[in-house]
C-alpha cells in the first residue's frame, strides 16, 4: 500500500513537472516585453508571390510554413551578465524542450546551431540560434507543419525569385541601426 502510494506520488510529480516545464515558446512570450530583448513576428506573406505563378510543389511548400518568430538580445556594454544568463537559458531550453540538434558550430566569438522538432522528416519547427560575443544573440523560430527538407529547399529558391516584403523586417532593421549608433 505504502509503495503504491509512493509510486503514485512519483507519477503525479512527474506528470506535473512535465506540464510546468518551460518551453521555448513560453520563453518567447515572456521575454518579448523585457528590456534588452526584441521580438519580431514574420508572416509567410513576406515572400511576395503575387507576380509569380506557383507550381503545386511551391504551393505546398509555402503552405507548410506558418510563421516566423525572431527574438533578439542586444548587447549594450552594460548587460553582459544578463547576456550570459539568458544565453544559458536558451541553450538549456533547446535541450529540455526536446529539440533535435542538427548542426552546431562555433568559432570562438560566434556560434550557431540549428535545431528541429518533429517526426522524421516532417518538421514542425526549426530553431536557429545564433550568438556573437560583440552583438548579442538571436533565436529564430520557424513554425509550420510538415516542413520537409524538399519544402525548405523550395522555399529558399522562392525567396531568391520573389521580392521580399521588407516592411515586416523594419523593426529588425531599426535595431541594427541603433546598434551602430
Amino acid at each position: 500500500m505504502k509503495y503504491t502510494l509512493t509510486i503514485l506520488a512519483i507519477i503525479a510529480l512527474l506528470l506535473t513537472s512535465c506540464n510546468s516545464e518551460p518551453t521555448l515558446q513560453k520563453y518567447f512570450v515572456e521575454k518579448s516585453e523585457v528590456k534588452d530583448f526584441m521580438k519580431v513576428d514574420i508572416a509567410p506573406s513576406i515572400i511576395n508571390t503575387s507576380k509569380l505563378t506557383l507550381s503545386a510543389e511551391e504551393k505546398t511548400a509555402l503552405a507548410s510554413l506558418h510563421n516566423i518568430n525572431v527574438l533578439a538580445f542586444k548587447l549594450n556594454g552594460k548587460n553582459n551578465a544578463e547576456y550570459e544568463k539568458e544565453k544559458t537559458i536558451v541553450k538549456t531550453l533547446l535541450k529540455t524542450d526536446h529539440y533535435d540538434e542538427l548542426i552546431k558550430f562555433n568559432n570562438g566569438t560566434m556560434g550557431a546551431s540549428v535545431n528541429t522538432k518533429g517526426e522524421g522528416q516532417n518538421i514542425d519547427e526549426f530553431v536557429v540560434f545564433v550568438n556573437e560575443a560583440d552583438n548579442g544573440f538571436g533565436v529564430v523560430r520557424v513554425v509550420g507543419k510538415d516542413m520537409t527538407p524538399n519544402n525548405v529547399m523550395t522555399i529558399v529558391s522562392l525567396l531568391q525569385k520573389s521580392e521580399m516584403n521588407i516592411e515586416q523586417l523594419k523593426p529588425l532593421k531599426q535595431m541594427m541601426m541603433k546598434s551602430k549608433m
Binding site: 509503495y3 540538434e101 542538427l102 548542426i103 558550430f105 568559432n107 570562438g108 527538407p149 529547399m153
Partner: protein, 191 residues
C-alpha cells in the same frame, strides 16, 4: 495471520526491489549509450576551440533531399550521408588545449580500442587516423582523426565520424565538404 502478512510483505518488498532495480537500469541505459560520445563533448563550448557538429537527424534530412538523379556525384553523396550518424570536428590553435586534446584522444583510444589505419606526416604535421571496423573490413563504424599541430598557426584537429559506411565512400565526403586532413583521408580510402 500475522505470519502470513509478514511473508507477503517480504515478497512484496522483494518484488518491488526487483522492479525498482530494473527501472533503475532502464533509466541508466540511455546515459550509457550517450557516454560513448561524451569524451569530446567537453570541447563544445570552449571559445578557444572551433567546433562543427553535425548530428544524425541532419544526415537523415539531407538524405531525403531530392537531387538530380543524373548527377552521379550527388547521388553518391546522398548515399553516403544516409549512412552517417555524427560528425564532430574540433580545431584549436591553443597549445594548452592541444595537449589536452592529445591526452583525451589517448585516453579515448584506451577505453575504445580502434585500429590505427594510417599515420602520415604532411607539412610537418602528424596525422593519425583510427577506425573501428564493422561487419566487413572495409566497412567502418567509427573514424577518429587526430592532427597534431605544432605552433600557434598550426591548429590541432580532432575529428570523429560515426555511422556505418565504407571507407571507399569517404573520398566523396572530403570532396564535398572541406574537411581538415582531406588529403590524408583520400589516400586512406584508396588503399
Amino acid at each position: 495471520m500475522k505470519k502470513i502478512t509478514i511473508t507477503k510483505n517480504k515478497k512484496f518488498k522483494l518484488c518491488t526491489m526487483k522492479n525498482l532495480f530494473i527501472a533503475f537500469l532502464f533509466t541508466l541505459l540511455p546515459s550509457v549509450f550517450f557516454a560513448q560520445t561524451t569524451a569530446f563533448d567537453k570541447y563544445e563550448d570552449n571559445p578557444a576551440i572551433n567546433t562543427v557538429i553535425v548530428n544524425k537527424k541532419m544526415f537523415q534530412l539531407m538524405g531525403e533531399m531530392k537531387m538530380d538523379p543524373k548527377d552521379k556525384n550527388a547521388q553518391q553523396y546522398i548515399n553516403l550521408v544516409k549512412k552517417l550518424e555524427s560528425l564532430k570536428v574540433f580545431t584549436t590553435e591553443s597549445g594548452k588545449i592541444s595537449k589536452d586534446m592529445k591526452s583525451t584522444v589517448d585516453n579515448y583510444l584506451k577505453s575504445h580500442p580502434l585500429d590505427e589505419l594510417m599515420r602520415v606526416t604532411e607539412d610537418g604535421k602528424a596525422i593519425k587516423i583510427f577506425v573501428k571496423s564493422g561487419a566487413t573490413t572495409s566497412s567502418i563504424k567509427e573514424m577518429l582523426m587526430f592532427i597534431e599541430g605544432g605552433g600557434p598557426k598550426d591548429s590541432t584537429v580532432v575529428m570523429s565520424l560515426t555511422g556505418n559506411f565504407d571507407l571507399s565512400e569517404l573520398s566523396v565526403l572530403t570532396d564535398k565538404m572541406s574537411l581538415p586532413g582531406g588529403n590524408a583521408i583520400k589516400k586512406a580510402s584508396k588503399k
